[in-house]
Amino acid sequence: MNELKIYWSVFKSSLQAKMEYKLDFLIGMITSIMLQLAALGLLWVVIHQSPLLGGWTGKEVLFLFGISATALGTAELLFNHIWMLPYYIVMGDLDRLLIYPTPPLPFLLISSPVLHSFGNLLTGMVLLIYCLSHFHEPWYIWMMVPLWSFCGTIIYTSMLVCICSLSFKFIGPYTYNLNFVHSLLQASRYPLSIYPNWLKYLLLFLIPFGAFNFLPGNFIFHKLFGLFGAWIAPVFAALSIWIAKQLWTWGLKNYQSTGT
Protein backbone atom coordinates (compact mmCIF):
# COMPACT_ATOMS: atom_id res chain seq x y z
CA MET A 1 0.00 0.00 0.00
CA ASN A 2 2.79 2.35 0.95
CA GLU A 3 4.38 1.58 -2.40
CA LEU A 4 1.22 2.42 -4.34
CA LYS A 5 1.12 5.69 -2.46
CA ILE A 6 4.70 6.40 -3.50
CA TYR A 7 4.05 5.57 -7.16
CA TRP A 8 0.97 7.75 -7.13
CA SER A 9 2.79 10.75 -5.71
CA VAL A 10 5.72 10.32 -8.11
CA PHE A 11 3.26 10.12 -10.99
CA LYS A 12 1.20 13.06 -9.80
CA SER A 13 4.19 15.34 -9.23
CA SER A 14 5.78 14.47 -12.58
CA LEU A 15 2.51 15.01 -14.40
CA GLN A 16 2.06 18.38 -12.73
CA ALA A 17 5.59 19.35 -13.71
CA LYS A 18 4.96 18.33 -17.33
CA MET A 19 1.69 20.27 -17.45
CA GLU A 20 3.71 23.46 -17.08
CA TYR A 21 4.85 23.13 -20.68
CA LYS A 22 1.55 24.00 -22.34
CA LEU A 23 2.87 24.44 -25.87
CA ASP A 24 4.73 21.13 -25.73
CA PHE A 25 1.50 19.49 -24.56
CA LEU A 26 -0.47 21.02 -27.40
CA ILE A 27 2.04 20.06 -30.11
CA GLY A 28 2.32 16.53 -28.73
CA MET A 29 -1.47 16.12 -28.71
CA ILE A 30 -1.83 17.34 -32.28
CA THR A 31 1.04 15.17 -33.55
CA SER A 32 -0.28 11.97 -32.00
CA ILE A 33 -3.81 12.61 -33.30
CA MET A 34 -2.42 13.36 -36.78
CA LEU A 35 -0.47 10.09 -36.73
CA GLN A 36 -3.62 8.16 -35.87
CA LEU A 37 -5.61 10.00 -38.55
CA ALA A 38 -2.95 9.22 -41.16
CA ALA A 39 -3.21 5.52 -40.32
CA LEU A 40 -7.00 5.75 -40.54
CA GLY A 41 -6.67 7.44 -43.92
CA LEU A 42 -4.60 4.53 -45.14
CA LEU A 43 -7.22 2.12 -43.82
CA TRP A 44 -9.91 4.07 -45.70
CA VAL A 45 -7.92 3.71 -48.95
CA VAL A 46 -7.46 -0.03 -48.41
CA ILE A 47 -11.12 -0.61 -47.56
CA HIS A 48 -12.07 1.36 -50.66
CA GLN A 49 -10.20 -1.16 -52.81
CA SER A 50 -11.56 -4.29 -51.19
CA PRO A 51 -14.50 -4.06 -48.78
CA LEU A 52 -13.29 -7.03 -46.72
CA LEU A 53 -9.87 -7.09 -45.07
CA GLY A 54 -8.99 -10.64 -44.05
CA GLY A 55 -12.68 -11.24 -43.51
CA TRP A 56 -13.23 -7.99 -41.57
CA THR A 57 -15.26 -4.96 -42.64
CA GLY A 58 -13.76 -1.49 -42.32
CA LYS A 59 -15.96 -0.61 -39.35
CA GLU A 60 -14.89 -3.78 -37.54
CA VAL A 61 -11.25 -2.88 -38.09
CA LEU A 62 -11.93 0.41 -36.29
CA PHE A 63 -12.35 -1.64 -33.12
CA LEU A 64 -8.78 -2.97 -33.51
CA PHE A 65 -7.53 0.58 -34.15
CA GLY A 66 -9.32 1.80 -31.04
CA ILE A 67 -7.97 -0.87 -28.72
CA SER A 68 -4.41 -0.42 -29.99
CA ALA A 69 -4.59 3.35 -29.65
CA THR A 70 -5.98 3.33 -26.11
CA ALA A 71 -3.53 0.61 -25.03
CA LEU A 72 -0.66 2.66 -26.45
CA GLY A 73 -1.98 5.88 -24.92
CA THR A 74 -2.25 4.34 -21.46
CA ALA A 75 1.24 2.86 -21.77
CA GLU A 76 2.62 6.26 -22.74
CA LEU A 77 0.82 7.92 -19.88
CA LEU A 78 1.85 5.46 -17.17
CA PHE A 79 5.04 3.74 -18.29
CA ASN A 80 6.64 5.89 -20.97
CA HIS A 81 9.98 6.10 -19.19
CA ILE A 82 10.67 2.54 -20.38
CA TRP A 83 12.19 4.17 -23.47
CA MET A 84 14.97 5.59 -21.31
CA LEU A 85 15.69 2.30 -19.56
CA PRO A 86 18.43 1.09 -21.96
CA TYR A 87 20.27 4.36 -21.37
CA TYR A 88 19.86 4.02 -17.60
CA ILE A 89 21.42 0.56 -17.82
CA VAL A 90 24.28 1.45 -20.12
CA MET A 91 25.16 4.78 -18.53
CA GLY A 92 25.00 3.38 -15.00
CA ASP A 93 22.16 5.68 -13.99
CA LEU A 94 20.25 2.79 -12.55
CA ASP A 95 22.48 3.16 -9.47
CA ARG A 96 20.39 5.97 -8.15
CA LEU A 97 17.21 3.92 -8.26
CA LEU A 98 18.82 0.92 -6.61
CA ILE A 99 19.55 2.80 -3.38
CA TYR A 100 15.87 3.38 -2.65
CA PRO A 101 13.76 0.97 -0.58
CA THR A 102 11.23 0.70 -3.45
CA PRO A 103 11.31 -1.74 -6.37
CA PRO A 104 13.30 0.18 -9.00
CA LEU A 105 11.41 -0.83 -12.14
CA PRO A 106 7.88 0.45 -11.38
CA PHE A 107 9.44 3.51 -9.80
CA LEU A 108 11.37 4.21 -12.98
CA LEU A 109 8.48 3.49 -15.35
CA ILE A 110 6.00 5.74 -13.63
CA SER A 111 8.34 8.68 -13.13
CA SER A 112 7.99 10.42 -16.50
CA PRO A 113 4.54 10.48 -18.13
CA VAL A 114 4.26 12.09 -21.57
CA LEU A 115 1.29 14.26 -22.29
CA HIS A 116 0.88 13.47 -25.98
CA SER A 117 -0.44 10.13 -24.73
CA PHE A 118 -3.76 11.96 -24.32
CA GLY A 119 -3.90 12.31 -28.10
CA ASN A 120 -3.76 8.55 -28.59
CA LEU A 121 -6.18 7.97 -25.73
CA LEU A 122 -8.67 10.44 -27.15
CA THR A 123 -8.57 9.09 -30.72
CA GLY A 124 -8.80 5.51 -29.45
CA MET A 125 -11.83 6.23 -27.29
CA VAL A 126 -13.67 8.05 -30.07
CA LEU A 127 -13.08 5.09 -32.42
CA LEU A 128 -14.21 2.53 -29.84
CA ILE A 129 -17.37 4.42 -28.93
CA TYR A 130 -18.24 4.97 -32.60
CA CYS A 131 -17.63 1.31 -33.48
CA LEU A 132 -19.44 -0.27 -30.53
CA SER A 133 -22.50 1.94 -30.81
CA HIS A 134 -22.65 1.37 -34.57
CA PHE A 135 -22.93 -2.39 -34.02
CA HIS A 136 -25.27 -1.99 -31.02
CA GLU A 137 -23.05 -4.10 -28.80
CA PRO A 138 -24.56 -5.22 -25.46
CA TRP A 139 -23.42 -3.70 -22.13
CA TYR A 140 -21.07 -6.52 -21.14
CA ILE A 141 -18.94 -5.90 -24.25
CA TRP A 142 -18.67 -2.23 -23.26
CA MET A 143 -17.51 -3.41 -19.82
CA MET A 144 -14.86 -5.72 -21.30
CA VAL A 145 -13.28 -3.12 -23.59
CA PRO A 146 -11.34 -1.20 -20.88
CA LEU A 147 -10.05 -4.55 -19.56
CA TRP A 148 -8.79 -5.60 -23.00
CA SER A 149 -7.20 -2.24 -23.56
CA PHE A 150 -5.45 -2.28 -20.18
CA CYS A 151 -4.22 -5.83 -20.78
CA GLY A 152 -2.79 -4.41 -23.99
CA THR A 153 -0.91 -1.77 -22.02
CA ILE A 154 0.46 -4.47 -19.71
CA ILE A 155 1.49 -6.85 -22.48
CA TYR A 156 3.08 -4.08 -24.55
CA THR A 157 5.06 -2.69 -21.60
CA SER A 158 6.12 -6.17 -20.45
CA MET A 159 7.50 -6.93 -23.90
CA LEU A 160 9.48 -3.68 -23.80
CA VAL A 161 10.83 -4.60 -20.35
CA CYS A 162 11.91 -8.01 -21.66
CA ILE A 163 13.86 -6.40 -24.48
CA CYS A 164 15.41 -3.85 -22.11
CA SER A 165 16.50 -6.57 -19.69
CA LEU A 166 18.65 -7.98 -22.44
CA SER A 167 20.75 -4.80 -22.48
CA PHE A 168 22.09 -5.70 -19.02
CA LYS A 169 24.08 -8.50 -20.56
CA PHE A 170 24.47 -7.38 -24.13
CA ILE A 171 25.39 -3.82 -23.40
CA GLY A 172 24.25 -1.24 -25.94
CA PRO A 173 21.38 1.24 -25.99
CA TYR A 174 19.24 -0.82 -28.31
CA THR A 175 16.19 1.37 -28.62
CA TYR A 176 15.69 0.11 -32.16
CA ASN A 177 14.66 -3.19 -30.57
CA LEU A 178 12.03 -1.26 -28.66
CA ASN A 179 10.93 0.33 -31.93
CA PHE A 180 10.44 -3.16 -33.31
CA VAL A 181 7.96 -3.93 -30.52
CA HIS A 182 6.25 -0.61 -31.14
CA SER A 183 5.90 -1.44 -34.85
CA LEU A 184 4.36 -4.79 -34.01
CA LEU A 185 1.79 -3.04 -31.86
CA GLN A 186 0.95 -0.81 -34.81
CA ALA A 187 0.71 -3.92 -37.01
CA SER A 188 -1.88 -5.37 -34.63
CA ARG A 189 -4.28 -2.60 -35.71
CA TYR A 190 -5.12 -4.73 -38.73
CA PRO A 191 -6.76 -8.18 -38.61
CA LEU A 192 -3.99 -10.75 -38.11
CA SER A 193 -5.65 -12.91 -40.79
CA ILE A 194 -4.16 -10.68 -43.51
CA TYR A 195 -0.57 -11.43 -42.45
CA PRO A 196 1.66 -14.37 -43.46
CA ASN A 197 1.67 -17.24 -40.99
CA TRP A 198 4.98 -16.46 -39.28
CA LEU A 199 3.87 -12.93 -38.39
CA LYS A 200 0.41 -14.13 -37.37
CA TYR A 201 1.82 -16.70 -34.95
CA LEU A 202 4.46 -14.24 -33.69
CA LEU A 203 1.68 -11.83 -32.79
CA LEU A 204 -0.50 -14.53 -31.26
CA PHE A 205 2.02 -16.38 -29.11
CA LEU A 206 5.48 -14.82 -28.82
CA ILE A 207 4.61 -11.15 -28.66
CA PRO A 208 0.90 -11.69 -28.00
CA PHE A 209 -0.68 -8.46 -29.17
CA GLY A 210 -3.42 -10.49 -30.84
CA ALA A 211 -4.64 -11.61 -27.43
CA PHE A 212 -6.13 -8.25 -26.47
CA ASN A 213 -7.07 -7.16 -29.95
CA PHE A 214 -7.65 -9.70 -32.72
CA LEU A 215 -9.06 -12.50 -30.56
CA PRO A 216 -11.56 -10.33 -28.61
CA GLY A 217 -12.53 -8.73 -31.94
CA ASN A 218 -13.27 -12.16 -33.36
CA PHE A 219 -15.31 -12.94 -30.26
CA ILE A 220 -17.44 -9.84 -30.80
CA PHE A 221 -17.90 -9.75 -34.55
CA HIS A 222 -17.44 -13.32 -35.77
CA LYS A 223 -18.46 -15.38 -32.74
CA LEU A 224 -15.18 -17.29 -33.11
CA PHE A 225 -13.26 -18.98 -30.29
CA GLY A 226 -16.11 -18.38 -27.81
CA LEU A 227 -15.23 -17.20 -24.30
CA PHE A 228 -11.62 -18.14 -24.93
CA GLY A 229 -11.30 -15.10 -27.18
CA ALA A 230 -12.81 -12.86 -24.51
CA TRP A 231 -10.73 -14.01 -21.54
CA ILE A 232 -7.35 -14.90 -23.05
CA ALA A 233 -6.10 -11.29 -22.69
CA PRO A 234 -5.79 -11.24 -18.85
CA VAL A 235 -4.10 -14.65 -18.96
CA PHE A 236 -1.49 -13.41 -21.42
CA ALA A 237 -1.12 -10.18 -19.45
CA ALA A 238 -0.34 -12.07 -16.24
CA LEU A 239 2.02 -14.37 -18.10
CA SER A 240 3.92 -11.53 -19.72
CA ILE A 241 4.28 -9.69 -16.41
CA TRP A 242 5.75 -12.86 -14.94
CA ILE A 243 8.20 -13.36 -17.79
CA ALA A 244 9.21 -9.68 -17.76
CA LYS A 245 9.85 -9.89 -14.02
CA GLN A 246 12.03 -13.00 -14.38
CA LEU A 247 14.10 -11.44 -17.13
CA TRP A 248 14.42 -8.18 -15.23
CA THR A 249 15.64 -9.95 -12.07
CA TRP A 250 18.12 -11.92 -14.15
CA GLY A 251 19.30 -8.73 -15.81
CA LEU A 252 19.73 -6.85 -12.55
CA LYS A 253 22.15 -9.50 -11.30
CA ASN A 254 24.25 -8.82 -14.38
CA TYR A 255 24.15 -5.07 -13.87
CA GLN A 256 27.64 -3.67 -14.24
CA SER A 257 27.09 -0.03 -13.47
CA THR A 258 30.00 2.16 -14.63
CA GLY A 259 33.39 3.07 -13.29
CA THR A 260 32.38 6.10 -11.28
Binding site: S9, S13, A17, D95, I99, P101, S112, S257, G259, T260
Partner: protein
Protein backbone atom coordinates in the same frame (compact mmCIF):
# COMPACT_ATOMS: atom_id res chain seq x y z
CA UNK B 1 28.74 -6.52 19.25
CA UNK B 2 28.69 -7.33 15.57
CA UNK B 3 30.43 -4.81 13.32
CA UNK B 4 28.18 -2.60 11.19
CA UNK B 5 30.09 -3.60 8.08
CA UNK B 6 31.99 -6.83 7.67
CA UNK B 7 33.85 -7.44 4.41
CA UNK B 8 35.66 -10.71 3.95
CA UNK B 9 37.94 -11.53 1.00
CA UNK B 10 35.83 -9.50 -1.39
CA UNK B 11 36.55 -9.75 -5.12
CA UNK B 12 34.92 -8.26 -8.19
CA UNK B 13 36.04 -8.60 -11.77
CA UNK B 14 34.79 -6.97 -14.91
CA UNK B 15 34.72 -8.72 -18.22
CA UNK B 16 36.18 -6.63 -20.95
CA UNK B 17 35.70 -7.83 -24.48
CA UNK B 18 38.84 -7.98 -26.54
CA UNK B 19 38.28 -5.78 -29.53
CA UNK B 20 40.56 -4.85 -32.36
CA UNK B 21 40.45 -1.21 -33.36
CA UNK B 22 38.19 0.07 -36.10
CA UNK B 23 34.85 -0.84 -37.52
CA UNK B 24 36.00 -4.26 -38.75
CA UNK B 25 37.30 -4.96 -35.22
CA UNK B 26 33.91 -4.09 -33.78
CA UNK B 27 32.22 -6.46 -36.18
CA UNK B 28 34.66 -9.25 -35.29
CA UNK B 29 34.14 -8.64 -31.57
CA UNK B 30 30.45 -9.11 -32.16
CA UNK B 31 30.92 -12.75 -33.09
CA UNK B 32 33.98 -13.70 -31.04
CA UNK B 33 33.57 -14.42 -27.36
CA UNK B 34 37.09 -13.55 -26.30
CA UNK B 35 37.17 -11.46 -23.18
CA UNK B 36 39.60 -10.32 -20.53
CA UNK B 37 38.85 -10.40 -16.83
CA UNK B 38 39.99 -7.29 -15.04
CA UNK B 39 40.03 -7.07 -11.27
CA UNK B 40 38.24 -4.02 -9.91
CA UNK B 41 38.46 -5.24 -6.32
CA UNK B 42 40.88 -7.95 -5.29
CA UNK B 43 40.66 -9.79 -1.99
CA UNK B 44 39.70 -6.96 0.36
CA UNK B 45 38.82 -7.57 4.01
CA UNK B 46 37.89 -5.06 6.71
CA UNK B 47 35.44 -4.49 9.53
CA UNK B 48 33.80 -1.21 10.45
CA UNK B 49 32.08 -0.74 13.78
CA UNK B 50 28.93 1.22 14.24
CA UNK B 51 29.59 4.92 14.74
CA UNK B 52 32.98 4.90 13.01
CA UNK B 53 33.89 7.58 10.50
CA UNK B 54 36.00 6.10 7.75
CA UNK B 55 37.67 7.75 4.80
CA UNK B 56 38.15 5.56 1.75
CA UNK B 57 40.78 6.89 -0.60
CA UNK B 58 42.70 5.74 -3.62
CA UNK B 59 43.60 6.91 -7.09
CA UNK B 60 41.07 6.95 -9.89
CA UNK B 61 40.17 3.37 -10.67
CA UNK B 62 41.45 2.03 -7.36
CA UNK B 63 38.14 0.29 -6.67
CA UNK B 64 36.53 2.75 -4.24
CA UNK B 65 33.26 3.17 -6.07
CA UNK B 66 33.02 -0.53 -6.91
CA UNK B 67 33.47 -1.35 -3.22
CA UNK B 68 30.78 1.15 -2.23
CA UNK B 69 28.43 -0.24 -4.87
CA UNK B 70 28.87 -3.74 -3.49
CA UNK B 71 28.35 -2.50 0.06
CA UNK B 72 25.09 -0.83 -0.96
CA UNK B 73 23.87 -3.83 -2.94
CA UNK B 74 24.01 -2.28 -6.40
CA UNK B 75 26.63 -4.73 -7.64
CA UNK B 76 26.86 -8.43 -6.95
CA UNK B 77 30.33 -9.52 -5.70
CA UNK B 78 32.30 -12.10 -7.64
CA UNK B 79 33.43 -13.90 -4.49
CA UNK B 80 33.89 -13.18 -0.80
CA UNK B 81 31.39 -12.15 1.82
CA UNK B 82 29.79 -8.84 2.69
CA UNK B 83 27.60 -8.20 5.66
CA UNK B 84 26.07 -4.79 6.24
CA UNK B 85 23.88 -4.29 9.31
CA UNK B 86 23.38 -8.05 9.44
CA UNK B 87 22.20 -8.28 5.83
CA UNK B 88 23.72 -9.44 2.57
CA UNK B 89 23.45 -6.28 0.48
CA UNK B 90 22.70 -7.60 -3.01
CA UNK B 91 20.19 -10.15 -1.76
CA UNK B 92 18.35 -7.87 0.66
CA UNK B 93 18.95 -4.57 -1.08
CA UNK B 94 15.53 -3.08 -0.50
CA UNK B 95 15.40 -3.83 3.22
CA UNK B 96 18.94 -2.58 3.65
CA UNK B 97 18.09 0.61 1.77
CA UNK B 98 15.78 1.68 4.59
CA UNK B 99 18.76 1.96 6.94
CA UNK B 100 21.45 3.38 4.71
CA UNK B 101 21.87 6.67 2.92
CA UNK B 102 23.87 7.04 -0.27
CA UNK B 103 25.25 9.99 -2.19
CA UNK B 104 26.94 9.56 -5.55
CA UNK B 105 28.68 12.86 -6.12
CA UNK B 106 29.06 12.11 -9.81
CA UNK B 107 25.38 11.42 -10.40
CA UNK B 108 22.31 13.36 -9.49
CA UNK B 109 19.89 11.24 -7.51
CA UNK B 110 16.78 13.33 -7.20
CA UNK B 111 13.96 12.91 -9.68
CA UNK B 112 14.46 15.25 -12.58
CA UNK B 113 11.07 16.89 -13.03
CA UNK B 114 9.90 17.35 -9.48
CA UNK B 115 10.60 20.35 -7.23
CA UNK B 116 12.97 19.73 -4.33
CA UNK B 117 10.31 20.17 -1.65
CA UNK B 118 8.13 17.44 -3.15
CA UNK B 119 11.11 15.14 -3.46
CA UNK B 120 11.72 15.50 0.26
CA UNK B 121 8.07 14.74 0.99
CA UNK B 122 8.28 11.72 -1.28
CA UNK B 123 11.33 10.43 0.57
CA UNK B 124 9.46 10.90 3.84
CA UNK B 125 6.76 8.51 2.66
CA UNK B 126 9.25 6.19 1.05
CA UNK B 127 11.42 5.72 4.13
CA UNK B 128 8.54 6.12 6.58
CA UNK B 129 10.48 8.85 8.37
CA UNK B 130 9.02 9.93 11.73
CA UNK B 131 8.05 13.62 11.88
CA UNK B 132 10.61 14.45 14.54
CA UNK B 133 13.56 13.08 12.53
CA UNK B 134 12.28 14.60 9.28
CA UNK B 135 11.80 18.03 10.80
CA UNK B 136 15.15 17.98 12.56
CA UNK B 137 17.23 16.98 9.51
CA UNK B 138 15.28 19.26 7.19
CA UNK B 139 15.74 22.17 9.54
CA UNK B 140 19.48 21.48 9.80
CA UNK B 141 19.76 21.16 6.03
CA UNK B 142 17.84 24.38 5.35
CA UNK B 143 19.87 26.20 7.94
CA UNK B 144 23.37 24.86 7.25
CA UNK B 145 23.20 24.23 3.52
CA UNK B 146 21.00 27.25 2.77
CA UNK B 147 18.41 25.26 0.85
CA UNK B 148 15.43 27.47 1.66
CA UNK B 149 15.41 29.35 -1.68
CA UNK B 150 15.82 26.13 -3.67
CA UNK B 151 12.81 24.27 -2.30
CA UNK B 152 10.36 25.19 -5.04
CA UNK B 153 12.86 24.77 -7.92
CA UNK B 154 12.61 21.65 -10.10
CA UNK B 155 15.77 19.56 -9.70
CA UNK B 156 16.52 19.92 -13.40
CA UNK B 157 17.14 23.65 -12.98
CA UNK B 158 19.55 23.42 -10.05
CA UNK B 159 23.24 24.16 -10.50
CA UNK B 160 25.80 21.48 -9.64
CA UNK B 161 26.52 22.93 -6.21
CA UNK B 162 22.85 23.34 -5.41
CA UNK B 163 22.05 19.83 -6.55
CA UNK B 164 24.85 18.31 -4.50
CA UNK B 165 23.55 20.01 -1.37
CA UNK B 166 20.01 18.79 -2.06
CA UNK B 167 21.30 15.29 -2.78
CA UNK B 168 23.14 15.22 0.51
CA UNK B 169 20.13 16.44 2.46
CA UNK B 170 17.99 13.83 0.71
CA UNK B 171 20.41 11.03 1.53
CA UNK B 172 20.53 11.90 5.23
CA UNK B 173 16.85 12.77 5.63
CA UNK B 174 15.96 9.42 7.19
CA UNK B 175 18.93 9.55 9.60
CA UNK B 176 20.44 6.36 8.20
CA UNK B 177 22.53 4.06 10.40
CA UNK B 178 25.21 4.09 7.73
CA UNK B 179 25.86 6.89 5.26
CA UNK B 180 27.91 6.10 2.16
CA UNK B 181 29.14 9.33 0.65
CA UNK B 182 30.90 8.89 -2.66
CA UNK B 183 32.74 12.14 -3.38
CA UNK B 184 30.22 14.37 -1.59
CA UNK B 185 32.24 17.53 -2.24
CA UNK B 186 33.15 17.00 -5.89
CA UNK B 187 32.99 20.16 -7.94
CA UNK B 188 32.03 22.42 -5.04
CA UNK B 189 33.69 25.70 -4.12
CA UNK B 190 35.60 26.04 -0.88
CA UNK B 191 32.87 27.67 1.19
CA UNK B 192 30.18 25.21 0.11
CA UNK B 193 32.57 22.33 0.84
CA UNK B 194 32.89 23.71 4.34
CA UNK B 195 29.09 23.88 4.75
CA UNK B 196 28.73 20.34 3.49
CA UNK B 197 31.30 19.02 5.95
CA UNK B 198 29.67 20.83 8.84
CA UNK B 199 26.29 19.41 7.93
CA UNK B 200 27.68 15.87 7.72
CA UNK B 201 29.36 16.26 11.10
CA UNK B 202 26.23 17.67 12.71
CA UNK B 203 24.02 14.81 11.53
CA UNK B 204 26.67 12.28 12.47
CA UNK B 205 26.94 13.70 15.98
CA UNK B 206 23.19 13.77 16.52
CA UNK B 207 22.40 10.24 15.30
CA UNK B 208 25.78 8.57 15.88
CA UNK B 209 25.68 7.17 12.36
CA UNK B 210 28.49 5.30 10.67
CA UNK B 211 30.14 7.25 7.87
CA UNK B 212 32.04 5.98 4.85
CA UNK B 213 33.41 8.75 2.68
CA UNK B 214 35.35 8.43 -0.54
CA UNK B 215 36.98 11.56 -1.79
CA UNK B 216 39.88 13.10 -3.62
CA UNK B 217 39.85 16.09 -1.29
CA UNK B 218 41.78 14.93 1.76
CA UNK B 219 40.45 17.82 3.80
CA UNK B 220 37.12 16.01 3.87
CA UNK B 221 38.89 13.19 5.61
CA UNK B 222 41.11 15.04 8.04
CA UNK B 223 38.12 17.08 9.15
CA UNK B 224 35.52 14.35 9.45
CA UNK B 225 37.13 10.91 9.67
CA UNK B 226 39.05 9.08 12.34
CA UNK B 227 40.04 6.11 10.24
CA UNK B 228 41.55 5.75 6.82
CA UNK B 229 41.41 2.95 4.29
CA UNK B 230 43.65 3.26 1.25
CA UNK B 231 42.95 1.20 -1.85
CA UNK B 232 45.25 0.77 -4.80
CA UNK B 233 44.47 -1.19 -7.94
CA UNK B 234 41.76 -3.04 -6.11
CA UNK B 235 43.87 -4.10 -3.14
CA UNK B 236 43.97 -2.83 0.41
CA UNK B 237 47.07 -0.74 0.96
CA UNK B 238 46.45 0.66 4.42
CA UNK B 239 43.78 0.36 7.09
CA UNK B 240 44.13 2.19 10.38
CA UNK B 241 43.58 5.43 12.25
CA UNK B 242 44.69 8.76 10.82
CA UNK B 243 47.17 9.02 13.69
CA UNK B 244 48.70 5.66 12.83
CA UNK B 245 48.91 6.68 9.23
CA UNK B 246 50.79 9.81 10.12
CA UNK B 247 53.07 8.06 12.60
CA UNK B 248 53.85 5.33 10.19
CA UNK B 249 54.78 7.54 7.30
CA UNK B 250 55.55 10.94 8.72
CA UNK B 251 58.79 9.77 10.25
CA UNK B 252 60.43 10.85 7.08
CA UNK B 253 61.20 14.51 7.53
CA UNK B 254 62.69 17.08 5.26
CA UNK B 255 65.16 19.91 5.55
CA UNK B 256 64.99 22.49 2.82
CA UNK B 257 67.89 24.87 2.44
CA UNK B 258 68.75 27.65 0.11
CA UNK B 259 72.35 28.44 -0.70
CA UNK B 260 74.08 31.60 -1.90
CA UNK B 261 75.09 30.04 -5.21
CA UNK B 262 74.16 26.80 -6.98
CA UNK B 263 76.03 23.88 -5.44
CA UNK B 264 78.64 22.06 -7.51
CA UNK B 265 78.03 18.32 -8.05
CA UNK B 266 81.51 17.57 -6.64
CA UNK B 267 80.56 19.17 -3.37
CA UNK B 268 77.50 16.98 -3.14
CA UNK B 269 79.58 13.88 -3.76
CA UNK B 270 81.74 14.95 -0.85
CA UNK B 271 78.71 15.28 1.39
CA UNK B 272 77.29 11.87 0.61
CA UNK B 273 79.14 9.69 3.14
CA UNK B 274 78.34 12.08 6.00
CA UNK B 275 74.68 12.13 4.96
CA UNK B 276 74.54 8.37 4.78
CA UNK B 277 75.76 8.16 8.37
CA UNK B 278 72.76 10.19 9.46
CA UNK B 279 70.34 8.11 7.33
CA UNK B 280 69.72 11.14 5.17
CA UNK B 281 69.77 11.65 1.45
CA UNK B 282 69.55 14.44 -1.03
CA UNK B 283 66.08 14.33 -2.52
CA UNK B 284 66.21 17.09 -5.11
CA UNK B 285 68.26 20.02 -6.32
CA UNK B 286 66.61 22.95 -7.97
CA UNK B 287 69.16 25.68 -8.60
CA UNK B 288 69.99 27.10 -5.22
CA UNK B 289 67.36 25.02 -3.43
CA UNK B 290 68.24 21.66 -1.91
CA UNK B 291 65.87 19.22 -0.24
CA UNK B 292 67.15 16.55 2.11
CA UNK B 293 65.08 13.71 3.49
CA UNK B 294 65.94 11.78 6.66
CA UNK B 295 64.32 9.17 8.82
CA UNK B 296 64.57 9.98 12.48
CA UNK B 297 63.79 13.18 14.34
CA UNK B 298 66.87 12.52 16.48
CA UNK B 299 69.13 13.42 13.59
CA UNK B 300 67.73 16.90 13.11
CA UNK B 301 70.40 18.78 15.15
CA UNK B 302 73.28 16.78 13.68
CA UNK B 303 72.12 17.16 10.13
CA UNK B 304 71.45 20.87 10.50
CA UNK B 305 74.90 21.36 11.95
CA UNK B 306 76.48 19.44 9.08
CA UNK B 307 74.67 21.39 6.41
CA UNK B 308 75.41 24.78 7.99
CA UNK B 309 79.06 23.88 8.17
CA UNK B 310 79.52 22.52 4.66
CA UNK B 311 77.24 24.70 2.56
CA UNK B 312 76.74 28.47 2.24
CA UNK B 313 73.22 28.41 3.66
CA UNK B 314 71.03 31.53 3.49
CA UNK B 315 67.73 29.95 4.51
CA UNK B 316 66.74 26.73 6.21
CA UNK B 317 63.37 25.19 7.01
CA UNK B 318 62.06 21.91 8.41
CA UNK B 319 59.06 20.17 6.92
CA UNK B 320 56.94 17.37 8.27
CA UNK B 321 54.83 16.00 5.41
CA UNK B 322 51.08 16.40 5.83
CA UNK B 323 48.60 13.69 4.94
CA UNK B 324 48.12 15.02 1.46
CA UNK B 325 51.85 14.76 0.75
CA UNK B 326 51.98 11.28 2.20
CA UNK B 327 49.14 10.09 0.07
CA UNK B 328 50.69 11.56 -3.06
CA UNK B 329 53.91 9.78 -2.24
CA UNK B 330 52.12 6.51 -1.73
CA UNK B 331 50.30 6.86 -5.04
CA UNK B 332 53.60 7.55 -6.75
CA UNK B 333 55.48 4.65 -5.23
CA UNK B 334 52.63 2.13 -5.30
CA UNK B 335 53.92 0.62 -2.10
CA UNK B 336 53.90 1.45 1.54
CA UNK B 337 57.21 2.93 2.59
CA UNK B 338 58.58 0.77 5.36
CA UNK B 339 57.79 1.88 8.87
Amino acid sequence: MNPAIDVDHLCKTYKIRIKKPGLWGSLLAFVSSQSNEVFAVKDISFKINSGERVGLIGENGAGKSTTLKMLTGILVPQSGKINVLGRIPWKERQQLALNIGVVFGQRPQLLWDIPVRETFQLLKTMYRIPDSTFNYVLHEALHRLHLEPLLSTPVRLLSLGQRMRCDLAAALLHAPSIAFLDEPTIGLDVSIKEQVREFIQEINKKFNSTLIITTHDLKDITQICKRLIVLDHGTLLFDGSLKQFENQFAQKKRIIIETKAPTAPAKIQQLKPALAKLNAQLLEIEGKRLVFEYLSAKCTPELTKLLLKKLPVVDLSLEKPDIENLVTQIYKKKEIPHA
